[in-house]
Amino acid sequence: MVSLATSTSASQIDELRHSQWSQMLRRRGPFAPDVDPHLDLNGVFSSKILVVGAGGLGCEILKNLALSGFRDLHVIDMDTIDVTNLNRQFLFTENDVGNPKASVAAKAIMRRIPSTTVTAFHCRIQDKPLEYYKQFQLVVCGLDSVEARRWINSTLVSISKGGDFLPLIDGGSEGLKGQARVILPSITSCYECSLDMLTPKTSYPICTIANTPRLPEHCVEWAFLLEWPRAAVSKSENTKSSEEISIQDEGSLREEASVSLAPAFDPDIPWHVDWIVDHARARAAAFNINASEIDRFFVLGIVKRIIPAVASTNAIIAAACCNEVLKILTDCNPSLDNYMMFVGEDGTYTFTFNLEKRSDCSVCGVLTESYTYSKARPPLLSTLINHYKTTYQLTSPSVSSTSGFPLYFSSPIPLQQATSNNLSKPIVDLISPSQQLVFTDKALTTSLYVSLQDSDEP
């Protein structure tokens, strides 16, 4: 979609809208004494920013960035709009239900703030190549899944290992709690470093669900985890039996659907949910458990693992994230170092701290070693390789210098043949003193960096 940014009146409006903001960004402050009074605002506001997610946090993030002057935003979201989104994903209206979140959000922002271009992608983040992510100055995430966060985190860390600096601001919210963090890949702690901070989700022991249910929740889990797959299997083995399924008919839709029971349970299909309600209730009755709580609302809470969500918490967390974005990109004040937790149940409480990078993090971590050798007898590359092969029980390691220059590669064959001559060379002939050796191997989850120290000792 062609933006109005090219027209004069839109940029005049933009200038007027941001005139005070521009003044502020060029003005030194007591916490930012090095602000450049001639800061190139055009450059700053042209920074390319990627917003991951166009849901509760994403809508807020897009609004915040556009109104902070940023003109070039991309947004990725694989979902379409559902009616249950409308109480907080404010860029969408009832008319938009069914349409892709990313495109609707982009259009809504551009309508309100024409000087900002938002390019939308209705796809998964994994569908985009590495090169796509390299074009951005910064990435802001408003995701609701651990896997997606891990993916984007490791993608940006690997980009950063190639030398590009690509900050990641990550926000998450649940009920009246949330967090905003600044990740400078390879420099500060990354998302993977803090995986063990995640609270485990409620799950019930399978023997309780299968044999000794006590709570209505157990009955629902039984219906959805055990009984549905069983019924689906017996259904598909016996194609005639549309009458076999004991669902109370509510209309022709159900009848049509009952002819071919879908193998995969889909919580967005009403009669699937009703089937669970009915079977969970029957199970509860069989065990004398009070089933009055079991209705659609109750069942959906369990099968969709629904996380409560409110507009105000999303607003707070998204704002905290975008505040960091603009501080990082404009340098007008120091940025968060590096994690802010927010809890809104007892007053308004935040806990801000520096989450430490883990040296053994499987994504951003590095193992470091130091090898001291006598100046008189520098080791051969093969000696070093064997030493660390033993120490770390490596299988077939490869070594390069920190500048990326391959010293010895055990595979592929052509590279192995090209570098095998290096094995018998003294290490000092292969790399300069300031460089480290970088070992990679199947047995290592992260690279091994070895610094070399010479000594006068024999």
């Binding site: 065990f287 105000s312 607003a315 704002a319």
Partner: protein, 519 residues
């Protein structure tokens, strides 16, 4: 310009994710509320947005300005082509689009004028959001709202810093937290529970049968055994070892998860029954002790609870049990026992409530049973908060010196905001600049008025310096955050779930930190 379209109210299904937090009664409270916004600046519109989205019934915007992109550039709820138009109308219209079923009203007028000429106008509101009011008007409004029990939520956002202040005489709740505390009464079980455990004859049971018992039955059994042997309840550290030994001895094989649960909870047998501090505070408050015809239902029930406690020595049993290892039948039977006791306690409590109502010449069923039930089921989570008024705060602030002496405290911003408000209220309209003689003299006066140590002036001036970078510009993300906090506090007050902050919160966007003060 976008046209608002009147569509059908969203299905309550729409709100399902938030209803999981504050339940149907909380959602009803939101849907009956009417919120007033005084001054439709960025932070105000953001606050209102986050209450419109969850489904308030109605809102009213009072604002005298016309849209000026130079000042309203960071506001999402004005359009770039609305320069010169009424800000109240423009923002009101765009805000209404967030939820087509919400009713929008607006008045193009200065809030101060309305406060002076028709203060009664405000009695229609459930909550009032306000910022950038002249001090006299704000205090006049606060006095009126407090007399009606209507919460005032005041806030300000300048550059990278914000402040939120809540003023309401009192907040009461039966849902101060979402956790349901455990109320097992293991040390002092009631007669029916004791009889039940005795009737099990645990000592004669074989290992397999014992593995089906709940840890509650196990612990009471072992405690009774201890009592029989030692003629007293277990109390000291030696007794702990003895009790643990008794439990361990009977563990039979691997499938003894109930015994594991008993071992990790055995210490509960040593706990004397104690009322949590929040409930104690409620019972000891004047409003529980002295009831009159003006007492709200909450205090009527608290008074009744006090009577119940004085007669029975305990609060009504909660009756809820967490999940625990046992077979279905055993679990359900113990659950049944707890529920029966709850019903007995509830019936007794209800009689106390009815008596209290009668003593105030109110009808015995004036408080619906469903409300009494909710109180009773949440009796361990009842809590109240009282708020100092802004008037009191300005006249006799508390603890300012000790806050200032903490070098990590955000309190210096508080003074910067106070100065900014004074400048707004003064006829000369000076701007917030560190070097301005007006500002310097205001700081001096403030420090003198509150007898504050001179050495802290520097901190305050540093804050003023930072705020002066902004002039009065609102940095959108900061205003969005401050508005978010204001709205969240409003929602908590409306739904009576959780606890609102008491009473002033400062957000420092430089450090990304908040701090709450009760001044």
């Amino acid at each position: 310009m976008d046209n608002p379209c009147k569509m059908q109210k969203y299905d309550s299904f729409t709100n399902s994710r938030q209803v999981r937090i504050w339940k149907a009664e909380g959602q009803n409270a939101i849907e009956q509320s009417h919120i007033c916004l005084l001054n439709a600046n960025t932070v105000g519109c953001e606050a209102l947005k986050n209450t419109i989205l969850p489904g308030i019934r109605e809102f009213t915007v009072i604002d005298a300005s016309v849209v000026d992109l130079k000042h309203d550039g960071s506001n999402f709820f004005v359009q770039y082509d609305q320069e010169g138009q009424s800000r109240a109308l423009c923002t009101g219209t765009l805000l209404q689009q967030l939820n087509p079923s919400v009713e929008m009203n607006y008045q193009q007028m200065e809030p101060e004028k309305l406060i002076e000429e028709d203060i009664e106008f405000f009695s229609r509101f459930t909550i009032v959001f306000a910022s950038k009011l002249k001090l006299n008007a704000m205090l006049r409004l606060e006095a009126f709202l407090r007399s009606k029990g209507i919460p005032l939520i005041y806030y300000n956002s300048i550059g990278f810093v914000g402040i939120i202040r809540i003023s309401v005489p009192e907040y009461t709740t039966v849902q101060s937290q979402s956790e349901v505390p455990l109320d097992l009464r293991l040390r002092n079980p009631w007669p029916e529970l004791i009889d039940h455990v005795r009737s099990l004859n645990v000592s004669q049971m074989d290992g397999t049968k014992r593995n089906e018992l709940t840890y509650i039955e196990l612990l009471i059994h072992y405690m009774l055994q201890f009592e029989a042997l030692h003629h007293r309840k277990p109390e000291n550290s030696d007794d702990r070892k003895v009790l643990q030994g008794m439990i361990r001895k009977d563990i039979n094989g691997q499938a003894s998860e109930n015994y594991e649960e008993a071992l990790s909870s055995y210490w509960r047998v040593f706990q004397e029954y104690k009322i949590p501090s929040n409930v104690m505070e409620v019972l000891q408050d004047e409003k529980s002790q002295f009831i009159n015809e003006k007492s709200t239902d909450f205090w009527v029930m608290c008074h009744s609870l006090k009577c119940f406690y004085e007669e029975k020595g305990t609060l009504p049993l909660l009756g809820t049990l967490p999940d625990m290892h046992s077979n279905t039948q055993r679990y359900l039977s113990i659950k049944h026992l707890y529920n029966e006791k709850y019903l007995v306690d509830f019936a007794a409590f209800k009689i106390f409530v009815q008596r209290t109502l009668q003593s105030q010449n109110r009808h015995v069923d004036d408080i619906p049973e469903v409300i009494i039930k909710r109180f009773c089921k949440n009796v361990l989570n009842i809590k109240f908060l009282r708020y100092r008024s802004i008037q009191e705060e300005l006249e006799s602030p508390k603890h300012l010196d000790s806050f200032l002496s903490d070098e990590n405290s955000l309190i210096p911003w508080y003074f910067a905001f106070r100065i900014s408000e004074q400048l707004l209220s003064s006829p000369t309209q000076s701007s917030l600049e560190k070097e301005s003689p007006v500002v310097k003299s205001l700081v001096d006066t403030l420090f003198e008025k509150y007898s504050l140590k001179q050495e802290y002036k520097k901190k305050v001036l540093k804050c003023i310096d930072e705020l002066s970078r902004a002039s009065d510009y609102e940095v959108h993300p900061v205003s969005s955050l401050v508005g978010g906090i204001a709205a969240q506090e409003a929602i908590k007050i409306l739904t009576k779930h959780y606890l609102p902050l008491n009473h002033t919160c400062i957000f420092d966007g430089v450090l990304s930190k908040t701090e709450t003060f009760n001044i």
